[in-house]
């Protein structure tokens, strides 16, 4: 049905009891005033209704006030946007492959697990063929060839170790630059949860590594075959990463995360050790011993961390699973009772400059005049008995149920606590729900204020509805 001007005036006459002429002139005044203010580039707000203004194209616009929007949208009150997919940086990574790889690679760094795999890839790439060969030989033939082969590498090694912390940073950055996004995509395909399952396997591998040096050869060969590094081997970076691996706990952690990733990742996870052995090796016998020691040290740490992980998972499981089963109907009901969009009162005050003069007090006084059943009880309020005259106001919905009987019993409970309780059927998306609400308030802000003062869990789990909405 369309309400045109004539009909509107008719309705207004009905509402106010004023004469049609008066209403007409009032309406004209209002419109003139809105347009006038808008013309002057200002927004005129009609309190609890909305703001009128000209937008940048010179069109008259209207922004409904929160009160109005809330009320209009009562059917879907409390429904919030649901995130289906979190922001991903993978896509942008691939797009920005060429230039800004630095910036893009930084994003995954925020997450600890991806940091780990990042590091891993760095290893994978930066361990050059040359390095690997030397490393491979090292453990098998023991120290005989070590010093010779390492002669090439050892000088940079030393330098890097001396300026350890900074080289770490530099190495990181440069490796980031070099860490290609090709590799990133690999990582992303891998199942992030696989580590839970493969955790044990991984540990075994580690153990093997510790016991026998032979695996190193295999790994080295694997790397030679698999990793045809797109970039020239970078000794510095390898070294630096090496250091990071040994010293930083987070990296130990990360290696745990990485290791268990399916095949390619496994290989990668193995790489760090060969690298460590190889790069150190050249130094001297003592160096190589140190490496072995560090490996041995690392293993228990990883054991402990992985055990801790499992324990945490189990504990989390204990907490989460019962709560899933425990949640009975009231709880599910509550989910539909998200707090309605909040209206901030201060804003109104700030904007009241533009608001048409509207002494609400006067109006309320007139409404409070017909004090109906109990003279002591105010028309509006949270406690006491229902007042019919107050049904033009708002109420705080505490329960919303599809079962009328349950709604009634909840209402009875609340009534016995002294609240004004309303039970109202509402048609929401084709099915009737019974809303149990308390209090009668003249305005939404007042209702919200009262709602905030309700006992838990109602203080946060409620929304405001207009009593006579439909």
């Amino acid at each position: 049905m369309k309400i045109n001007r004539a009909k509107l005036i008719e309705l207004l006459v009905e509402k106010t009891g004023m004469g049609a002429d008066e209403i007409e002139s009032q309406l004209k005044q209002l419109i003139d005033r809105i347009l006038d203010a808008a013309e002057r580039g200002k927004a005129l707000e009609v309190k609890e209704f909305g703001m009128f203004y000209f937008d940048e194209h010179g069109d008259l616009k209207f922004d409904p006030a929160d009160e109005l929007s809330t009320e209009i949208n009562f059917k879907y009150a409390g429904m919030e946007p649901v995130e289906l997919k979190p922001a991903r940086d993978q896509d942008s990574e691939e797009q920005a492959k060429d230039l800004s790889s630095e910036e893009v690679v930084e994003d995954p760094k925020d997450e600890p697990s991806s940091t780990g795999s990042d590091m891993d890839e760095i290893f994978g790439f930066n361990v050059g063929d040359q390095d690997l060969e030397e490393e491979d030989e090292g453990p098998i033939e023991d120290d005989a060839e070590g010093p010779d082969g390492g002669a090439l590498i050892s000088p940079p090694d030393k330098v890097d170790r001396d300026i350890d912390p900074f080289s770490g940073l530099l190495g990181d950055a440069s490796s980031k630059m070099k860490g290609s996004s090709d590799d990133d995509s690999d990582k992303d395909k891998e199942d992030p949860f696989s580590f839970i399952l493969e955790d044990d396997d991984k540990e075994e591998e580690k153990a093997q590594k510790k016991e026998t040096d032979e695996p190193f050869v295999d790994f080295g060969e694997d790397e030679d075959k698999d990793d045809s590094p797109p970039f020239a081997p970078d000794e510095d970076v390898a070294d630096v990463d090496d250091r990071i691996e040994e010293e930083d706990d987070p990296d130990d952690l990360s290696s745990i995360f990485d290791g268990p990733e399916p095949k390619t990742a496994e290989e990668k996870s193995k790489k760090p050790e060969p690298v460590a052995a190889g790069t150190k090796k050249p130094k001297s016998d003592t160096k190589s011993k140190k490496v072995k020691e560090s490996q041995k040290e690392r293993d228990p740490i990883m054991m402990v961390i992985s055990i801790a992980l499992i324990v945490i998972l189990v504990i989390a499981g204990f907490f989460i699973i019962p709560s899933l089963f425990d949640s009975d109907e009231p709880a599910t009901d509550m989910t539909t009772e998200q707090p309605a969009p909040q209206v901030d009162a201060p804003q109104e005050e700030a904007q009241s400059v533009l608001t048409p003069v509207e002494p609400e007090a006067d109006v309320e006084v007139t409404e409070e005049e017909p004090l109906p059943p109990e003279p002591e009880q105010p028309v509006y309020g949270l406690m006491g008995n229902l007042v019919d005259e107050a049904n033009d106001g708002y109420s705080i919905v505490l329960h919303s149920m599809q079962n009328e009987v349950r709604a009634r019993s909840e209402a009875a409970d609340l009534a016995s606590e002294g609240y004004r309780v309303l039970v109202s059927p509402r048609l929401v998306q084709g099915s009737t729900v019974w809303r149990v609400s308390v209090g009668q308030f003249p305005t939404i802000p007042e209702a919200q204020q009262a709602a905030a003062e309700l006992p838990n869990p109602y203080s946060t789990n409620n929304f405001i509805q207009r009593i006579q909405t439909n």
Partner: protein, 69 residues
């Protein structure tokens, strides 16, 4: 302008809009409720959000700023 009038104006509009009536004030504009279906919103960064359905007030007006300055 009387406050009672403004209050009544707001109430009448609110009630009519809620009844899904289109309120047309010639020389000013029209108010009506428009239903927005639930939809997926995809952000540039790959974030996907399910936006719940909503009823919103829409105001359309042919009034344009007369003195463009």
């Amino acid at each position: 302008m009387k406050s009672t009038f403004i209050k009544a104006f707001k109430e009448v509009l609110r009630e009519q809009i809620l009844k899904k009536n289109k309120v047309e004030i010639d020389g000013f504009g029209t108010f009506e409720v428009v239903h927005r279906k639930q939809h997926q919103k995809t952000y540039e960064n790959g974030r996907v959000v399910m936006v719940p359905p909503a009823d919103v007030v829409e105001f359309k007006s042919k009034v344009r700023r007369s003195n463009e300055n």
